[in-house]
């Protein structure tokens, strides 16, 4: 079991450590609901150093990456971040990722922790001229500050007024280099919570000091450390997919609700033909969002029914404190997927009402 550079910090903060994707990570500190509340109302601090960071360099990267993914890579501007999915020949997802274009020929690619090895092998086995890959998994750290107060907190750590106003002016899904206390790092105005916030990419050995600085600066704002439990609840409310649940090797971006990211106008990419065919036939099982009527929680794997007929199964499920209901995603047949469809979820042998709603469940104001 591996540990991130921040392991000791988590333990000192009372983090409850659990195995996750080969790392010991904090699932919670003070409590999942409390951490969720902190992120929605003030700010939360997350260690995401278990995720893999790959550096992509060279003149060949854009075209190479465009041939392997559904969304545009070559058209990314300097300082832009973009969501993308690497697909297989069947149109299913190898992983969903974020590309950050740091320079004309230098990208940071952030990959899910659980897919780190798979994705590294996959990319390494596809060498191309003008493409150099470096794997920083385990050495590079990633710290996220998320919530309405995140900008004020991170800004307060910058040395000059010019740096502060640059940071505050950053648009969502952009990135820029900066420094905190002399430590050079990359700021991304990105996140997985549906709130404003920043993700900080920095060398692992600098992470503990920067983490502690953020905690100190955040104290007056009510910043709290937040773990994986809160992270999952927040991302589900925000309508963001989790690999393995809404996307998988056998669950395409069309089925998973990420059709917006599939750029069919790209000349070709792995899985394009399969996705074109899938879109044309339009008969596939797909992910829907469910809002449950009652107080009984759904769980992953529970069966979903419509008028007595089994139509699918629950994928993600959670209490949605910001929504005032239990929420879930489910993979259901097309005929059960229209907005407003009344469905039932089987919980311990009894059926409980739910209805198909639009994503996101929660949107920040």
């Amino acid at each position: 079991m591996r540990r991130t550079a921040l392991y000791d910090e988590h333990v000192a903060l009372g983090g409850r450590m659990v195995p996750f994707a080969g790392f010991e990570m904090p699932v919670q500190y003070a409590g999942i609901l409390r951490e969720h509340d902190a992120v929605r109302k003030r700010a939360g601090l997350f260690d995401l150093s278990h995720m893999a960071q790959f550096e992509l360099r060279g003149p060949g990267v854009a075209a190479w990456a465009d041939a392997l993914t559904i969304n545009h890579v070559a058209t990314m501007k300097l300082g832009q971040a973009r969501y993308n999915i690497f697909t297989n020949e069947g149109g299913g997802a190898h992983d969903d990722v974020l590309f950050y274009r740091l320079e004309a020929e230098r990208w940071l690619l952030v990959v899910n922790a659980g897919n780190a090895q798979k994705m590294w092998e996959y990319l390494r086995n596809r060498p191309a001229p003008g493409v150099t890959l470096t794997n920083h998994h385990g050495e590079a750290a990633l710290i996220a500050v998320q919530g309405p107060h995140a900008c004020a907190i991170v800004s307060s750590l910058l040395a000059s007024a010019a740096e502060r106003s640059s940071l505050e002016a950053m648009k969502y899904y952009t990135c820029a280099p900066g420094e905190i206390g002399g430590v050079p790092l990359l700021f991304g105005r990105t996140g997985y919570t549906g709130e404003d916030g920043f993700e900080l990419f920095l060398p692992g050995e600098e992470a503990p000091a920067v983490w502690r600085r953020i905690l100190a600066a955040g104290a007056e704002h009510g910043l709290e450390p937040a773990g994986l439990g809160a992270r999952d609840m927040l991302r589900l409310e925000a309508g963001m997919p989790l690999y393995g649940f809404e996307l998988a090797e056998d669950l395409s971006p069309l089925a998973g609700g990420q059709r917006w990211a599939v750029k069919f106008e790209k000349p070709d990419f792995t899985g394009k033909a399969a996705l074109v065919a899938q879109a044309a036939e339009d008969d596939y099982d797909r992910i829907v969002a469910l809002s449950l009527s009652g107080r009984v929680p759904a769980r992953s794997g529970y069966r979903v029914f419509r008028a007595g007929e089994a139509v699918g199964e629950v994928r993600s499920a959670s209490l949605g404190p910001s929504v005032g209901a239990y929420i879930a995603t489910a993979l259901v047949r097309k005929s059960a997927s229209a907005l407003g469809t009344a469905l039932q979820i089987e919980v311990r042998g009894a059926l409980h009402d739910a209805s198909v709603v639009a994503l996101p469940f929660y949107r920040r104001s």
């Binding site: 409590g31 439990g229 929680p297 769980r299 209490l319």
Partner: protein, 128 residues
């Protein structure tokens, strides 16, 4: 973690308080802490006949569904309806307001298989 005197404890982290021929059942501070934020409790029905150590309900936290076992057998005479609206009461007051159900004790001898406070404390310490 506390385990008050005057209660008996099960290895499944329930407590039992004897009040005459009625037993009050709840889960311990260690159990509520392990579960995390409790969001839903499914209790046995009043009138249900429970067997010692049977799974009689469910406690759901944000993270997981857990079976609720009964430390002794008997007929359920009351359940804590306050938990409908406020399941987190189990987290806040596991030995007090967060009690789960009361039953009319079927067999006094069943208590001998339960643990006293210090033995339960040792069990919890060993599980850490």
């Amino acid at each position: 973690m506390t385990q008050p005197d005057g209660l008996l404890y099960s290895k499944e982290h329930e407590w039992l308080k004897i009040e005459g021929d009625v037993g009050v059942v709840g889960i311990t501070d260690y159990a509520q802490d392990s579960l995390g934020d409790i969001v839903y409790v499914e209790l046995p029905r009043v009138g249900a006949q429970l067997k010692q150590s049977a799974s009689v309900g469910v406690i759901e936290s944000v993270k997981a569904v857990s079976d609720l076992f009964t430390p002794v057998g008997g007929e359920v005479v009351e359940v804590n309806t306050a938990l409908d609206a406020d399941p987190a009461l189990v987290n806040r007051e596991p030995f007090g307001g967060g009690w789960l159900f009361k039953l009319k004790l079927a067999d006094a001898a069943e208590r001998s298989s339960l643990l006293g406070p210090s033995d339960y404390g040792a069990l919890v310490a060993a599980e850490h």
